[in-house]
């Protein structure tokens, strides 16, 4: 994966989040404070405006800049969470202009660990981690089994989709939804959903390339 593809993924994610803004906000209205879609769309809009100022940098610097912009502009919990994720992924891609498949997986792993650290959260608490963690595991297993990045990420996206479905069956113990206790049952987590959208979008860009 090269810098161009990374930029293409960021642009496509920004478009996807804008397109799904109302859906994400509706999910968040059901079990949260109803700002997830609006906040994330504002953040990625701002990322797109700033993109020309860092698009010529290496992958590490690009991801870090995206993360910092999200932290500054999102305004809700997804700002520090996705912001930390992109910044941590940027750290492991420092100085690189292309990523091997294993390095892409390592970047995703670093991003997930960033979310865990920032949110003091683990899998199974009805958060974005319930999409991200299974996705990473499936991606890693696929790559270890000799699959191409596109094939392995397809497994990852399927696992994330299953993870989003799983969030409907559990009670939130982290984030604003935790105040609702069992009333959070039956609803899919907005954060897990936006994480799924990002992974799906990355896969679409890879397939198109």
């Amino acid at each position: 994966m090269d810098t161009k593809q990374i930029i293409a993924i960021i642009e496509a994610v920004a478009k996807k989040i804008e397109a799904e803004k109302d859906f994400l906000t509706q999910l968040d209205n059901e079990i949260g404070d109803g700002d997830h879609g609006i906040n994330l769309a504002r953040g990625f809009k701002s990322v797109m405006e700033k993109l020309p100022t860092f698009a010529d940098k290496d992958i590490g610097a690009i991801l870090k800049a995206v993360g910092m912009e999200l932290v500054s502009t999102v305004g809700g919990a997804s700002g520090p969470l996705y912001g930390t994720a992109f910044m941590k992924a940027g750290n492991v891609c420092k100085g690189k202009n292309s990523l091997t498949d294993a390095e892409f997986a390592a970047a995703l792993d670093a991003a997930i660990n960033g979310v865990k650290m920032r949110g003091k959260a683990v899998e199974g608490e009805k958060t974005m981690l319930d999409a991200l963690c299974p996705a990473y595991k499936a991606l890693k297993d696929g790559l270890d089994a000799g699959k191409s990045l596109t094939e392995a990420l397809t497994d990852g996206v399927n696992a994330a989709q299953a993870g989003v479905e799983f969030t409907k069956t559990i009670i939130a113990t982290k984030g604003r939804a935790s105040y609702l206790k069992e009333r959070s049952l039956g609803h899919q987590d907005p954060g897990a959903t936006s994480s799924l959208f990002m992974l799906q979008t990355a896969l679409e860009v890879l397939r198109g390339a």
Partner: protein, 128 residues
């Protein structure tokens, strides 16, 4: 005097807590960092940074937050700031802010304030 910053999703809430705290200690250096730049609900990295700067002295700054992104965004500001004398305190926002303002004017150190504020976490309003 130890500076105090109130971080909230709501600009009104942050300013209201500052107002209440100053009722008891009008000279206390207390700053509000509430809401987003456009006044909408949320927490702003820039507002928190600016509020810290506005009350900063060598005595340090204590930061009180409401919840969720207020905590996480403040954490990120502090990681970038890298100053040992700027700390987040974990306490009920209103009770903690009033106590912090009073103690700040009384000349308490940041470390002692952190201990004092910890004591109000379990204060009961109804039973003795």
């Amino acid at each position: 005097m130890v500076g105090i910053v109130i971080v909230s999703h709501s600009q009104k809430l942050a300013e209201g807590v500052v107002e209440l705290a100053k009722m008891m200690a009008s000279n206390a250096p207390v700053a509000a960092a509430g809401g987003l730049d456009d006044g909408n609900l949320g927490t702003s990295y820039e507002k928190i940074s600016a509020a810290i700067e506005s009350v900063y002295s060598d005595d340090g700054v204590a930061i009180l937050m409401d919840m969720g992104s207020a905590v996480m965004t403040t954490e990120m500001v502090l990681e970038d700031l890298e100053r040992d004398n700027v700390k987040m305190l974990d306490c009920p926002l209103v009770e903690g802010a009033v106590l912090a303002a009073v103690e700040s004017v009384g000349g308490i150190s940041l470390d002692d304030l952190a201990k004092r504020v910890d004591e109000v976490r379990n204060v009961k309003k109804l039973d003795a």
